[in-house]
């Protein structure tokens, strides 16, 4: 069923029609057994939405706006089934992007929960005209419904015709009779819905999005080939995020774009000697050039995402002081976003990307280097194991007075270990890796909070300094008070992490853990 406003619980199912069948012929056929009643035809537009990651699709749901209502539906095949929840959404209102902008409603809450930091993208739109036919029994009671639906896609103006069959509970016998007649007339269940067809035609079919893709590696693949495979895939992934950054759909696009570039940079540092030295350096420089212009924008995103949480840590009276700071951040973000857009669309970025792509596709023709031919598994597992042992040694030396800098260094080591385990996950035994990754993630959780708190303290201080220079005496006092309070909280939060980190470290560096890591790397799959 596809009306947004009722709570019909019947599972609808959609059928395709043979080309030579029209509504009149179909009605004639049904009239052999039923009296029919045509309802007045209805027209509406249907806009489908989902996140870049197809969050709703993968949950078996569809989000659809039909002019005046926004509805979350269960998905049957690739089409609307039952409405889970719906809310008014005025025809005139702008395109849906950030579920946090929706007025308060249970559906808005559901979407926020489902989508997290993700925004919504319009997948495609249809103009729908729908003719509902009711099949009646001898008391003129409705026993079956059939919707004849004509769809026209807004982009490309392609036409689709289909039937939505809607049996009624308790009238299974009639449904069977009707279905028999319909099948004889050539109706067939649709395996590819108009939505799926339309998305495919546009080259944007539903897919699984992950920053940890599989690379189809083999243990004895020459290291250079393996690294090129990984770099190429990560570069593709980075580039898929460009549009979302340009259109500022949500902050995850920039985040993922940067993660991809960072992972690329670390893999060539971590798997040494796969390219000639000069080439390695040039790849690193190129990646750095691509990413560096986005640093400030990402920082601002992080502050703004944290805004509510940070404000909540302060007493009510100190919050207005900070509000000014966030206003400044928002203004600065606008500026930075424009700069990042220019950067992404610049000639130099295009040149860098073209060079990288060319380099990766032609790397096999380069002269050999120290490890270019080494089998990838043996090469990286020895190194990765070494990295673990190093972390273990650092952990053993840590004590209550260990300076913050050493904890930061430990964090970097853990990050590198994590990258290596994830890049080469498919070469490691699939039962043994998850528990090791879990332990590592737990440790990284504490280290992450520790680092975030310290970075936030630094940037707050920077902000205060800058704003003092601008001499806004009227705002200075409240701002300083709020930031002072916040610094205290952040410092405490950071220090509180130390105990947690030490506890996690003890576990991560334990004899059992060391033995488990040893077998992990001894038994590549």
């Amino acid at each position: 069923m596809t009306t947004l406003t009722t709570n019909d619980s019947n599972a609808g199912s959609i059928y395709s029609l043979p080309a030579d069948l029209d509504l009149l012929k179909l009605e004639e056929r049904l009239q052999e057994r039923f009296e029919l009643r045509r309802r007045s035809p209805a027209r509406r537009s249907l806009d489908f939405y989902d996140s870049f990651e197809w969050t709703l699709w993968h949950r078996g749901e569809l989000l659809c706006r039909d002019g005046s209502q926004l509805g979350l539906f269960t998905r049957s095949g690739g089409w609307l089934q039952d409405v889970r929840s719906s809310m008014p959404y005025p025809r005139k209102a702008a395109d849906l992007r950030d579920p946090n902008d929706l007025p308060s409603h249970p559906l808005a809450d559901t979407l926020q929960k489902r989508l997290g930091l993700r925004g919504l993208l319009k997948l495609c739109s249809f103009q729908e005209s729908r003719q509902e036919i009711e099949l009646l029994d001898d008391s003129r009671k409705v026993v079956f419904r059939l919707d004849w639906i004509d769809l026209r896609s807004s982009e490309g103006k392609r036409n689709y015709t289909l039937c939505d069959l809607r049996p009624l509970r308790g009238y299974e016998q009639s449904a069977e009779t009707a279905l028999q007649l319909l099948l004889e007339s050539g109706l067939a269940p649709i395996d590819h819905s108009p939505l799926e067809q339309e998305l495919e035609t546009r080259g944007t079919p539903p897919r699984v999005y992950s920053l940890k893709p599989s690379f189809d590696l083999q243990p004895d693949l020459p290291a250079r080939e393996a690294v090129c495979l990984i770099l190429q895939r990560m570069l593709e992934l980075a580039r898929e995020n460009e549009v979302g950054v340009l259109e500022d759909i949500d902050t995850e696009f920039l985040h993922d774009y940067r993660v991809c570039l960072r992972k690329m940079r670390s893999i060539i540092s971590l798997v040494k000697g796969v390219f000639p030295e000069a080439q390695t350096e040039k790849v690193k420089r190129t990646l750095a050039a691509l990413a560096s212009r986005t640093n400030r924008l990402r920082d601002l995103d992080v502050y703004l995402l944290e805004q509510e949480k940070l404000l909540e840590t302060l007493p009510e009276s100190l919050r207005p002081g900070l509000a000014h700071m966030f206003d400044d951040f928002r203004r600065e973000r606008e500026k930075e976003l424009r700069a990042v857009r220019r950067h992404l669309q610049s000639a130099s970025t295009a040149k860098h990307l073209a060079w990288l792509e060319h380099f990766l596709s032609s790397a096999s023709t380069l002269t050999e280097s120290a490890n270019s031919k080494a089998p990838i598994a043996a090469l990286v597992f020895a190194r990765t194991h070494k990295r673990y042992k190093r972390i273990r040694r650092i952990a053993a030396d840590m004590h209550a007075d260990t300076p913050d800098e050493e904890i930061h260094e430990l964090r970097i080591h853990c990050k590198k270990l994590r990258y290596m385990l994830e890049f080469f996950a498919e070469l490691l035994p699939s039962e043994q890796l998850p528990p090791r990754l879990k332990a590592l993630k737990k440790l990284q959780g504490g280290l992450g909070t520790f680092n975030d708190s310290s970075v936030q303290q630094i940037s707050l201080l920077e902000y205060v300094e800058k704003s003092h220079k601008r001499e806004r005496a009227d705002q200075d006092l409240p701002l300083s008070l709020s930031i002072g309070a916040l610094l205290g909280i952040l410092y405490q939060r950071q220090q509180a992490q130390r105990d947690r980190i030490f506890a996690d470290l003890a576990e991560f560096g334990s004899e059992e853990s060391a033995a488990a890591f040893k077998t992990l790397f001894q038994n590549p799959s």
Partner: protein, 245 residues
């Protein structure tokens, strides 16, 4: 799941008219609603053009529940289902009498429906029997249509008396005026008097109206075929008044 019962010891007072339109109004308010016709006269289902249920043997609560469930019919209004009655319901009381916990059987019959429905409306037969007692025990709201005539007061009195004897919570009883005629002075006076005696009367009054009377010919809820009239709107108002609590 909230259970509404349309009940009176008397026949012809507007129980079925209420049950049908209340179920319709609940559904319009977004409730997944089931109307259960407990009266062997089968009037409620008739108003939805739904035929009486197939014959079946009475079994104990949980088994019976499954059997009844198979008889549920979707009305012409998505979100509103009807469990039609059957002449066999005349024997409901005899059946109940044979069972253990005979006064609580209805509860176990209805319990499994809670997953599927937000609201259940019971259209009850006009008597005071074991089935009625089952209804009193399970209903969250016992809605009692009262035609403003002196005779009605006696039956209302009887109902409260029964609740007292059986130690049932009397606050579940919600009487309201049914088929009231504004132009009838006796009706007006009697309504005023009854409200004084029974302050629990609902504010909403269902007036006497030919448009409601026509349900028999139209075979649809009056709220469907005459939605804009004050008389039919009264059912919606009554629904909201009960929901408000």
């Amino acid at each position: 799941m909230t259970i509404f019962a349309s009940y009176s010891i008397k026949g012809g007072v507007g129980k079925t008219a209420l049950a049908v339109n209340l179920a319709y109004a609940l559904r319009e308010d977004g409730h997944r609603t089931l109307l259960i016709d407990l009266d062997p006269q089968c009037a409620a289902a008739y108003y939805f053009r739904i035929k009486p249920a197939a014959k079946f043997k009475f079994k104990e609560g949980p088994k019976l529940a499954g059997r009844l469930r198979r008889n549920i019919r979707e009305s012409d209004y998505p979100g509103l289902d009807v469990l039609p009655s059957n002449m066999a319901y005349r024997n409901f009381d005899i059946m109940l009498d044979r069972l253990k916990k005979s006064r609580k059987q209805l509860r176990s019959i209805l319990a499994p429906l809670a997953e599927e429905y937000d609201s259940v409306v019971l259209d009850c037969p006009p008597n005071l029997t074991l089935l009625s007692e089952n209804i009193f025990r399970v209903a969250d709201h016992l809605l009692v249509p009262v035609i403003p005539t002196p005779l009605s007061e006696r039956t209302l009195e009887q109902l409260y008396q029964f609740f007292k004897e059986k130690k049932l919570p009397p606050n579940r009883i919600r009487p309201f005026f049914s088929m009231a005629q504004k132009s009838n002075r006796l009706h007006r006076e009697f309504m005023a008097q009854l409200r004084l005696d029974y302050p629990v009367f609902l504010d909403t009054v269902i007036p006497h109206s030919v448009h409601i009377e026509r349900m028999g010919q139209r075979r649809r809820p009056a709220l469907d075929y005459a939605p804009g009239l004050a008389a039919t709107q009264a059912y919606r108002k009554l629904c909201l008044e009960i929901l408000k609590g």
